[in-house]
Symmetry: C2
Subunit: 187 residues, 2 copies
Amino acid sequence: MEAAKKKVLNGVNIEQLFSTIDLIKEKPDVAKFKFRATNKWVNGTHCRATVKGFYGALKEDDSREPRVFDMDEPPVLLGNNQGTNPVEYLLVALSGCLTTSLVAHSSAKGIEIKGVQSRYEGDIDLRGFLGLSEEVPVGYKEIRVYFKIDADVSDEQKKEMIRMAQKYSPVFNTITKSAPVSVHLDK
Amino acid sequence: MEAAKKKVLNGVNIEQLFSTIDLIKEKPDVAKFKFRATNKWVNGTHCRATVKGFYGALKEDDSREPRVFDMDEPPVLLGNNQGTNPVEYLLVALSGCLTTSLVAHSSAKGIEIKGVQSRYEGDIDLRGFLGLSEEVPVGYKEIRVYFKIDADVSDEQKKEMIRMAQKYSPVFNTITKSAPVSVHLDK
């Protein structure tokens, strides 16, 4: 029982996590991942993305079933509600990444978690998208996140869990520190 | 026929687009939107986000049905494939936003589009997430995008369509120019 408890905490396989870390220390290329998506325009503001394969741990992984995501705008933004819109998907991505980072890093530190909930709100001034103002940002002006953590630890420790989530979340760091995106015409 | 053609192009209601622009020029607050998501941790690297209401055009819109998105990692990243992972959702968001921006701005310029497809690949070195290196970025190091556009225009015009997509896409600009994200502990 005691050994099993240590091996998996909060559903995170700590043993696998630490053995992965040891492996990466020896072979840094194991840590290099490539994630992918494709997109096909449907009509108007409606398009459809598909996610399937990725590269990581030194090999291609094509074993997953494809997953499909419809995106569209609500009527007020010229769409027909055929899907969640792209800026909302960005919040979905951020929410998943902060949550996973919080749980993984807290688990590695041996903190038992009963529950984690969070909410996200981001401000966009559409004058940027519409080309009506050079002064407002085209992207999110600001995003606010609020976490509720159910665990038998102090508020100070909960705040430290949130700091770890921010420090190690790839999506959080992509958004707050930026990443270069090159866009090409494919013949 | 001729009037109907002008009113809607590529499924985009151009008339509504230009009347929205006129309205925003008069009342800039109409352009201020707030998008939202919530997230609940399930177990391990599995969590679930929900998107429903938003604020925009001077009012709350709670009319849409909630949409739910499961996120998880593949086994090599300690998960059980219960969903697409958060960094893949970021590519989904980017794909939808660049596509919608390309189609909307091309439509406003009167360009008829037959098809748009695109593919996305982003590099992440997980030594950042794992805290094994301060030198590699925690987020995406680089994202590459390739567009195929089916339209009766020159390659130079297609490249201009891609430049407009980049200039006006909120997700592209959030990623490439960064946005502040504040994270709080909710009591």
